[in-house]
Each structure stands twice: as structure tokens, then as C-alpha cells.
């Protein structure tokens, strides 16, 4: 497949690896912000061919992982209401709420459907006029235009039975939170390519300047990641702190203005709670006043008790790169992908799940 296979070419990978080994002289700690990047690093076995001095730290860029417990409980509550069809993305439905996951609720009879796209959920609403269809709209900036579009489509169709339960988080405030955490010792970032596709690069310039930290907007294929890492290490080795764009075939400096318009039509910025991290000011999008009719939060009065997260789970520190998953006392014991205590053990992007599949076995398996 064009634009995929070239970027998985083993020979080019080899050249980049060789170059990386050549230029790396000191230990560097780099955070790849996006869970998709984590996934690609793990899936392609890149972590164990990088120079030993480079430590990749998995960032908080997994929307599924950072969706707060209360919101999952709310989704669960709605899903268990008899007349609601709750739709969401596949990886969201395995995440445990305070009592159960959506998958378990489904097994217990709730009508929960897995969608590839929120636009399909609108169709479900159209086909089921006597039911309420709620789309559990999780995501970072990348997914916001699609989730917003679903609202606009529903409005165009005059649907009264469609709403979204928005759980939209923003990358730049999270990055700042990571940088500001005293325990986190991140020296550079691979910024999330697809987020920048929407929002452009301007949000990141102030961060790079303020904190003097190298940042490379990076794609998701092996060659992308290696180039991104190489560009980052070059900056680190040269003592530079620039914002660079590895993923220029997709990311424009200004981002996608159309998408930004659609987002503005449906969402407004607000403080938001991140699972395991806590509330970060102005770090999320909520459905705005104009579209309130499509906001499941307003449409359904749900009073969900705030439940404390699992005390043993150190997901917050893992998400900020302060601790490695295997430093968690529950890792691989009470907490496994089959029975996750925290969200990072759920999604295949989640740092704990990635480590579970990777390290636990790898340590003995890969000599």
C-alpha cells in the first residue's frame, strides 16, 4: 500500500538505525506522545533495535486510557438505560469503569455497538427513531472533527435521538503537565503526527521555546518513527531545541483549517479531568451551548458518584513517564490485559499493556 509500505522498508530502516547508532553518544529519554506511536514501536519491534542509550517513554496520548472513571460510569449508566443504544470505538468498550466495563455491560444485556466511525452511529440513530443513540465520543484533536461532524450530520437530518458523550482531551496542556511534573525527566518529544494534522504546529512553538525542549512532529510508520527519533537525537546531541516536522507529507504548519472550523462549531474549551493524572486546566473540549441538544451530558440527567481510582494503580505516573509499568506493584499480577486495573493496561496503545506484551515475556524470550 502506497505511503505505508515505503515507510516500512527494511533497508531504509536499517540505514536509519545505523545512523542512529552512529550519532548517539549519550543516554537520552524521549517521550513519544501518541499511543499510536507506542503501538508501532512495539508491534514492529523497534524498541529492541534502537541504541541502548535511547529510552523511549510512552506518553499520555491514548484517549481511551485517559478517559476518566466518572465518564465511563456515565456511559455505563446510559448504556444500561433500556432505551439507549450506546455506540463507541472498539478499544473504548474494554476499559473498566468503577464497577464494570462496557463490554461486561453488553454481556449483561446493554445495547452497546462498536462503530468504525461516529458517522455510522448517526445512521443507527436514523434507523432507530424510537431509541436514543449516544455516541461515546472519546479522542484527542484528531478525532474531534469526526465526532463534531456526527453532530452536524445529525442536526442536518433533524435527528432528535442522537447525542454524544464527549471525552475530548488536548495534547499541548498534557505535554506541559508532563514537563512541569518534577518527577518526569523527559528530554525531548515526538509530537503526535495526526493531532498536528488537525491543529498544526503553532501550539507547540511556545512550549519548545518556554521549556527549551526538542520536539519533532512524527508519523507512525517505522521509517517515520526512526526519522523522528533521529531528528530528535540530532537536536539533543547538538544541544538544540527546535520544533521540526518529520511528518510533512501530512502535517501542514497551519493544520487543517476546515477541521478547526468544524471543531469550533461544536466544541468549546474547558478544564478536564484526565484519568490517572487529574484535572488539567483548559485541556479538553465540551459540546458548546449552541449544540447543547446533542450533548448527552445535558440531555440525560445522570448523577454519577465520583469514585476514587484504584489505589494501587500508578497509571498517572506511567502516563507521565515517571514510572515504568513494571514498577507498579500490580503489573502482571492483579493487573493484566484480561483483567485491567487501570486503563493503560486495556488498550493495545496503553503503556502497561504494551509493556505486558513486550517486556514481561521479552525479558526471558529475547536473549
Amino acid at each position: 500500500m502506497k505511503y505505508l509500505s515505503e515507510f516500512r522498508n527494511p533497508e531504509i530502516v536499517e540505514q536509519y538505525i545505523a545512523e542512529l547508532h552512529k550519532i548517539t553518544t549519550k543516554p537520552w529519554t524521549i517521550m513519544e506522545v501518541c499511543g499510536g506511536q507506542t503501538h508501532s514501536l512495539v508491534k514492529n519491534g523497534i524498541l529492541n533495535i534502537l541504541p541502548k542509550q535511547i529510552t523511549m517513554v510512552h506518553g499520555p496520548g491514548c484517549p481511551v486510557c485517559v478517559t476518566p472513571l466518572t465518564l465511563i460510569d456515565k456511559a455505563l449508566y446510559l448504556a444500561e438505560e433500556k432505551n439507549v443504544i450506546l455506540c463507541s470505538y472498539g478499544d473504548m468498550i474494554r476499559v473498566p469503569g468503577s464497577k464494570r466495563s462496557l463490554l461486561e455491560a453488553k454481556a449483561n444485556g446493554a445495547d452497546i455497538r462498536i462503530m468504525y466511525s461516529p458517522l455510522e452511529a448517526v445512521k443507527i440513530a436514523q434507523e432507530n427513531p424510537t431509541r436514543e443513540v449516544v455516541f461515546f465520543a472519546v479522542g484527542f484533536e484528531t478525532t474531534a472533527p469526526a465526532n463534531a461532524l456526527s453532530v452536524i450530520h445529525a442536526q442536518r437530518l433533524g435527528l432528535k435521538n442522537y447525542s454524544i458523550l464527549a471525552s475530548h482531551v488536548l495534547v499541548p496542556p498534557a505535554m506541559e503537565a508532563v514537563i512541569n511534573d518534577k518527577e518526569a525527566k523527559i528530554e525531548a518529544f515526538l509530537a503526535a503526527g495526526h493531532v498536528c494534522t488537525i491543529m498544526g504546529m503553532s501550539e507547540y512553538e511556545p512550549i519548545v521555546e518556554k521549556y527549551k525542549i526538542p520536539m519533532v512532529v512524527t508519523g507512525f510508520e517505522p521509517v517515520d518513527l526512526l526519522q523522528g527519533i533521529l531528528m530528535t537525537v540530532r537536536q539533543l546531541e547538538n544541544g538544540e531545541a527546535k520544533l521540526e516536522n518529520q511528518y510533512s507529507r501530512v502535517v501542514k504548519p497551519e493544520g487543517n483549517p476546515e477541521a478547526q472550523k468544524v471543531i469550533a462549531k461544536v466544541f468549546r474549551t474547558d478544564d478536564r479531568e484526565w484519568r490517572g493524572i487529574g484535572t488539567i486546566p483548559q485541556s479538553g473540549w465540551e459540546v458548546n451551548e449552541e449544540m447543547a441538544a446533542f450533548d448527552a451530558n445535558k440531555k440525560f440527567s445522570v448523577n454519577i458518584q465520583k469514585v476514587p481510582e484504584c489505589a494501587d494503580c500508578i497509571a498517572g505516573q506511567v502516563l507521565k513517564g515517571i514510572k515504568k509499568p513494571f514498577e507498579c506493584s500490580q503489573f502482571g499480577k492483579a493487573c493484566t490485559p484480561l483483567n485491567p486495573l487501570g486503563a493503560p493496561m486495556v488498550s493495545s496503545e496503553g503503556a502497561c499493556a504494551a509493556y505486558y506484551h513486550y517486556s514481561e515475556a521479552m525479558e526471558e524470550a529475547l536473549v
Binding site: 536499517e14 501518541c34 533495535i49 474494554r94
Partner: protein, 350 residues
């Protein structure tokens, strides 16, 4: 098989009902009417006796016995339907035991409201698949459940086969150095099914590759006998899960090479789109063989001469390192552990 041709040559008997109702499973007139309508005449053979409680036949020696229930949704999918799947599935399970499949039982759980034309199309596929594999359907059962308590049709087939005289199939025989062969492109069936699932559907020419593997397996056993150590069909859970089961059962390690794993481009595209890993996607027309290194290449060559083996490949080997673990070397040279499928494979947002 080509259903449309079969359908033309095999019109459904004239019936005075269009859909299945509960009465068809009551055991009374309607059940008998369904049995005698000629609908099941399709499957007639000298042993099948609709009017008694079981079939009688003679068989001697070591027998293999296997069962599977088929619950696929949707029932009709690109390249086939649940009918041929149910025949091929159990035929293949018997073949995987090193047996020559002989007799099958066929049991339906029909949902009230199933149309007779759908049922007929499924029966035609069953007939074609049974003929192609050379087994006889000798005993059967039909139950009807209330609307909303089934999913159009569930099928159970159970089968009896005779062990191939040269077969010595067992996880215990797998040893370090053995090669891992897959008989064809993987993940095709699972992706064909997913292409027609609500909420995920996409347009594709991908068709399920469901097929009977028994003739191929028999020929391999004829030639390579006990140099074939294990057969497995990587159905639910896919190649990754079967490899893990083998590693677990043998207490050995397995290495596989991503670059050698055959996947057609359409399937690859669909996996990328939905965030799935072909190693975990279900297969139907594919088997895996663990064979001794000496005959691996010959075995592969022979396999490639079969209708369903052209894309066969050696994808890895059994090793003494990392016991109980399956390790994949990625195309770019990295390594990762391949675990069993956790839960279901669901399409990902990220």
C-alpha cells in the same frame, strides 16, 4: 463452489410455507413435513435415515471424532455461507487429527422466521461441500427456537473419521528444528466476514477461502507420513493463538518471520484500516503443519501443487530458546513476543 449455478440446477421443492416456524421443530406434522418435503433429499445417501434415531455403519480401528458448532454472523458472507463452513470445519478438524473423514452428523438450530430460500441456499452449500470433501452426512436433527433467541441458523456438525495409517500427529512429536508451515494466505476468512459486519462494513472483493483440507492432508500423509508432527487449523484466535497453544503444549519456543507470512493485500488493507493484526484474525481454508526440517521444503513444494496450497509458506521454526513463547521477527528486523488473543479483536480508534 458456485452457488448460483447450483441453485439453478437445484430448484427448491415447492412448499406451502415460506419461513420456518416453531412448529417445524415441534416433532409433529410440520417437522415431518419439512423432513419429507424433499428439502433434505438433497443430502440423501444410503446410510442417512431420517426416520430413526441414529445411523448405523461399519468402521474399524482407530477412529477420530470431532465436533464444532457454527454461529457465524452474518450467515451469508462474501465467498460462502455457514453451510459449507460447518462441513469444512469438522472435515478439517478430523483431517487435523490425521484422520480421513468419513461420516458427519448435521444438526440445525433454526430461528423462527428463517426463510426457506435462505435455508435452501445453505443446504445447497452443505451438499456441495460434503461432496467435495467426500464425506457422508448420515444423521441429523432440526430444532427451531423463537424469534430473538437465535441468529437465523446455528449448525453443529460432528464427524467420525478413520486414522490415516501413516499418521502420527501429536504435540509430543514436535521437536526443536521443526519447521512451521502455513498452507495459504492467512486472515482472509475473518476479514471477509468483518467486511459485512454492522458498523464496520467495507467494500471488497475479499472472499472467504473456506475449503475442505482433507484431500491435501491425506496426500501429505501418504508422502511424508510421520515426518509430519502436527496439524492445526488456525480458526478462532488465528495463527497467533494456535502457535501459542503449540508452544504451551510442547514447552518449546517458536520463532516466526513476519516477512514470510502470506497475507493478500486487500486483507492487509482492511487490517490497517481497522487496526487489526492478521495474526489474530480467524481462518477457515488454512492449516498449519509442524514438520521435521528434513522434509520441510519438499512438503512445501508438494503442498503448493494443491488447489488450496499455492500460497503455502514456511513461516518459522521450533526453537529451544524462550520456551512456551512465540517470537516474531518483524519485517524491519525487530522482535516482539506474540501472545494469545486477549478477548475479541475489536477495531481500534488508535
Amino acid at each position: 463452489m458456485n452457488n448460483s449455478i447450483l441453485s439453478l440446477s437445484c430448484p427448491m421443492p415447492k412448499l406451502d410455507f415460506d419461513v420456518i416456524t416453531l412448529g417445524h421443530g415441534s416433532g409433529g406434522v410440520l417437522t415431518n413435513k419439512l423432513l419429507e418435503s424433499g428439502v433434505f433429499d438433497l443430502l440423501k445417501n444410503p446410510i442417512l435415515d431420517e426416520h430413526h434415531d441414529g445411523a448405523i455403519f461399519e468402521l474399524d480401528g482407530k477412529l477420530a471424532f470431532s465436533t464444532d458448532s457454527y454461529v457465524i454472523s452474518p450467515v451469508f458472507f462474501p465467498g460462502g455461507n455457514i453451510g459449507e463452513l460447518a462441513i469444512n470445519g469438522t472435515v478439517n478438524d478430523l483431517a487435523m487429527c490425521g484422520a480421513i473423514p468419513k461420516y458427519l452428523s448435521l444438526s440445525f438450530i433454526l430461528e423462527e422466521g428463517l426463510t426457506m430460500t435462505e435455508f435452501w441456499e445453505i443446504l445447497l452449500s452443505i451438499k456441495a461441500a460434503a461432496e467435495k470433501s467426500g464425506i457422508f452426512i448420515v444423521t441429523g436433527d432440526t430444532k427451531v427456537v423463537e424469534r430473538g433467541k437465535g441468529d437465523k441458523i446455528f449448525i453443529n456438525t460432528s464427524g467420525v473419521g478413520q486414522l490415516h495409517p501413516k499418521a502420527a500427529i501429536s504435540a509430543k512429536r514436535v521437536q526443536v528444528g521443526d519447521k512451521v508451515i502455513v498452507s495459504g494466505n492467512i486472515a482472509t476468512h475473518g476479514i471477509a466476514i468483518m467486511s459485512v459486519r454492522e458498523g464496520l462494513d467495507f467494500e471488497t472483493s475479499i472472499e472467504s477461502d473456506t475449503i475442505n483440507l482433507n484431500h491435501t492432508v491425506e496426500a501429505l500423509l501418504d508422502t511424508f507420513g510421520n515426518d509430519i508432527h502436527l496439524f492445526r487449523d488456525p480458526t478462532r484466535g488465528g495463527v497467533a493463538t494456535v502457535l501459542n497453544e503449540i508452544a504451551r503444549d510442547t514447552k518449546l519456543g517458536i520463532n516466526i518471520q513476519q516477512k514470510d507470512i502470506p497475507v493478500i493485500e486487500e486483507v492487509y488493507g482492511a487490517c490497517e484500516l481497522l487496526g487489526l493484526d492478521p495474526l489474530y484474525v480467524a481462518n477457515e481454508g488454512v492449516f498449519m503443519a509442524i514438520v521435521s526440517a528434513e522434509i520441510a521444503d519438499d512438503c512445501l513444494k508438494k503442498l503448493q501443487t494443491f488447489e488450496n496450497g499455492q500460497n503455502a509458506a514456511i513461516i518459522g521454526e521450533v526453537v529451544s530458546e524462550h520456551p512456551r513463547q512465540v517470537v516474531l521477527q518483524s519485517r524491519i528486523g525487530g522482535k516482539r513476543v506474540i501472545n494469545m488473543l486477549v478477548g475479541e479483536q475489536l477495531p481500534r480508534i488508535c
